[in-house]
Amino acid sequence: MAKRALVVSGGGCKGAFAVGVLKNLAANFPEISFDIFVGTSTGSLIAPFAALERIDMLEKLYTSITTDQVVIRGNVVARLLGSNSLFDAAPLANLIKQYYNDDVCQQVFVSGKEVFFATTCLQTGASVNFSTNTPSLVSDYEVMKLNTPDELRRAVMASACQPVFMQPIEVKKGSLPLRQYVDGGVKEYAGIQLAIDAGAEEIYAIVLSPETRDTDEHPFNDALAILERTIDIFTAGVGSNDVRIPAVYNKTLQYIAAVKKKMLAAGIPQNKIEDYFNIPFNNPLAGKKPLKIYVIRPDAPLGGGPGGLTFDPAEMKGMLAKGQKRLDDFMANLPPEQRPIA
């Protein structure tokens, strides 16, 4: 049976938008369930509860927390000289320990769902995805299996920790050689390609930035403001590639399927057609079928401050409502042939 994946991108407090989409999905499209979950940054905080279908917990988390419950801001000079990051992420660590206690983690492990947490390794520079299950069919990524609740919590934390702003995390604490991990969004903002490589044929990708570029008309004459803006532009760029590249890949598959169909109509036998396309070379498209990829994203920037690190419950409630509405609009505008398979 075709596997269905949920991909949630990074975006800090903007994860509330994803929770709104999931809340609407659970309420109005209960037939849509997922086998694979891929989270990056805030998406990693969402993925385990989404796998357990605990949208209530996600709603509570994403409509009540404040910035102080995520990071402690300090004196920039003191932190640069005396710490590993500009902010102290200890409150977020406490929140993860509170919400993802041992019971919840065990439920995720035994759920049979494949949950991936996207991180970037500081030592190797590689994209490393941590998985709750023995990963299937993932060859282009470094995938490491999580074995304990503590490792799961650490993987969630590592995926959420924006480098420079928050401390890097050792997921496999004490293992050698030393490996510290940060937000997977450094290299991959939305893990759509990972979901494809993991065998998903139908993908719901919730991307927390709009397709159109966020324009900021005010003059930039302050180095810190320029730094914050650069981070936003960089994140949008990575996110755009994460959506564009799988789309090109999917269009290629659709094109090949159309060519095969035309060849068949022209009287070429099926086995011959397959033979034409079976070139003895490292065929990246071998065994792949055209996919259904649904990208659900806001129409306009959601706010939430630089890096989505301003957690304002009132603003996040608004984002959640926008997510619910966006799914309604998205589903209503889908052509019948592209509607999700129940």
């Binding site: 801001r73 902010f87 200890a90 510290q180």
Partner: protein, 193 residues
């Protein structure tokens, strides 16, 4: 906080009609206003600071010449009692004045006046007022204050004015300080532990 601000404004625009009740409410509003503002400021975090300070300047009584040179070295342990706003502590040190070395000691109180923020990244420095009373071993009785800037929570510089009401002189000094309890890098931090 906004309400407290409005109340504060109201108090000061109608100062002629201040009653005791209004005065107490005003004080509470000021306290609430400062406290609410201070809570969001990373300056004056919880815990201790221990400043080693070097200072020098002059002692004068504005009437007889010449003014006397003064220099000193002191230690000031201070504890933050209201994060983002207030520290209390003491000072003990040695001063060289009038060809003699004397000891000085006494309590102090430091109020954060304002701070400079680096956008949403955090703060950079604060401007603080230290009020203190020092007793000297050569009969000095110094009451005064220091206006100083604390940068990176480990370095202070500023100037001070003290009135020696025991010997009827004024002390004017500039000084530098270094926080001996400054947080130093201790390898890899683990927020998950």
């Amino acid at each position: 906080m906004v309400l407290a601000g409005f109340y504060l404004l109201n108090i000061f625009t109608q100062y002629k009609a201040i009653t005791m009740k209004r005065f107490v409410c005003g004080l509470l509003s000021i306290g609430f206003f400062i406290s609410a503002t201070a809570q969001r400021d990373p300056e004056f975090p919880k815990g201790w600071v221990l400043y080693l300070q070097a200072h020098d300047g002059m002692v004068t009584n504005f009437t007889t010449a010449p003014d006397l040179f003064v220099a000193g070295l002191s230690l000031s342990p201070q504890l933050t009692v209201v994060p983002g706003l207030l520290r209390v502590g003491g000072t003990a040190g040695a001063i060289f004045n009038n060809k003699k070395i004397a000891g000085v000691f006494g309590p102090n109180l430091v109020i954060k006046l304002t701070s400079l923020q680096a956008n949403s990244l955090g703060s950079i420095l604060n401007l603080q007022l230290q009020l203190e009373h020092l007793w000297g071993t050569s009969q000095q009785k110094l009451l005064g204050g220091l206006l100083q800037s604390e940068i990176g929570q480990f370095f202070r510089l500023g100037f001070s004015i003290h009135r020696d009401y025991g010997l009827n002189t004024w002390w004017f000094q500039g000084g530098l300080g270094y926080n001996l309890l400054r947080k130093k890098k201790k390898g890899i931090e683990d927020p998950m532990k």
